[in-house]
């Protein structure tokens, strides 16, 4: 993968447009850096893990999270803001019989506010094209083998909603919320892993 830089020309174009906007006084480079830093400073899988751990220890919070993701985030001092407009968050819960996995087949939409920048494979054409057709096969390549009776739903983020998977709570004797959060992985929040 490291020999391919498909996004090279796009990155160059973006820098070119940014330079033009700055030259014409339409964009303040310092302001742009400040906005990006503020956005990314709080954006890491640790935020998504916090949300999940709270849902595991507090069933009422889990109910609110699944009903209205954005409102539940506010309870934890989190938000889906920071981009051009606040995005709608839809949390989808794994159960004993249902497994969820997220993708953006058209580009690379991802809940950056909660998970930080997406992994390279999430943006790859291989993942995007294959996970909608053969999720069980793709999950197996991640080392995730699901029992036959588990039904898989793939959520394609093709509009303004960002998806987050609520993994099943691991069967370990841990009840402390922070310790539970430490068990949550990025792939678990995307749905390519179970915990």
């Amino acid at each position: 993968m490291s020999e391919h830089h498909d996004d090279g020309p796009v990155a160059a174009q973006t820098r070119h447009v940014e330079a033009l906007l700055e030259a014409r006084g339409l964009l303040d480079a310092v302001e742009l850096d400040r906005a990006l830093e503020a956005f990314l400073a709080g954006a890491s899988p640790a935020q998504g893990a916090r949300v999940v751990a709270r849902a595991w220890v507090e069933p009422e919070f889990q109910d609110r999270l699944l009903a209205d993701g954005n409102a539940a985030l506010e309870e934890l001092g989190l938000s889906m803001g920071g981009g051009i407009q606040p995005q709608r968050l839809k949390v989808v819960a794994n159960t004993e019989t249902e497994h969820n996995v997220i993708v953006c087949t058209l580009c690379s939409c991802y809940p950056i506010a909660l998970l930080g920048p997406s992994p390279t494979w999430y943006k790859s054409e291989a993942y995007r094209a294959r996970v909608v057709r053969d999720p069980r096969g793709v999950l197996a390549e991640f080392g995730t083998e699901l029992p036959e009776h588990v039904r898989i739903t793939v959520w394609d983020a093709s509009a303004e909603t960002r998806y987050l998977v609520l993994p099943r709570r691991p069967a370990v004797p841990v009840s402390d919320e922070a310790e539970l959060a430490a068990l949550v992985t990025r792939n678990g929040l995307i749905g390519t892993a179970v915990l």
Partner: protein, 85 residues
């Protein structure tokens, strides 16, 4: 306007301009999971026109989309791209 549970078919259109209906989901029948708010239609916005309309999460069976598979795929679709099925 559609409601949760409604059967819908996505547009088969293959326009020259930008569209948000993924190719694999064109002309497919699915059921509305839920309405998810109103947003500018990207097909129009890409051409400099702002048209705000409802967007729905629609659930399709893999068999409907690909002719095989035992899973489901959901796609978020603007109302212009849906008709009752």
């Amino acid at each position: 306007m559609f409601s949760s549970g409604d059967r819908v078919r996505t547009s088969r259109a293959d326009p020259a301009h930008h569209t948000r209906v993924p190719r694999y989901a064109r002309g497919a029948v699915g059921s509305v999971v839920e309405p998810i708010g109103e947003h500018p239609l990207p097909d129009d916005r890409a051409r400099g026109v702002t048209t705000v309309e409802p967007v729905y999460t629609v659930r399709f069976s893999a068999r409907e989309l690909f002719g095989e598979g035992d899973h489901d795929v959901t796609v978020d679709v603007w109302e212009s791209h849906l008709e009752s099925a």
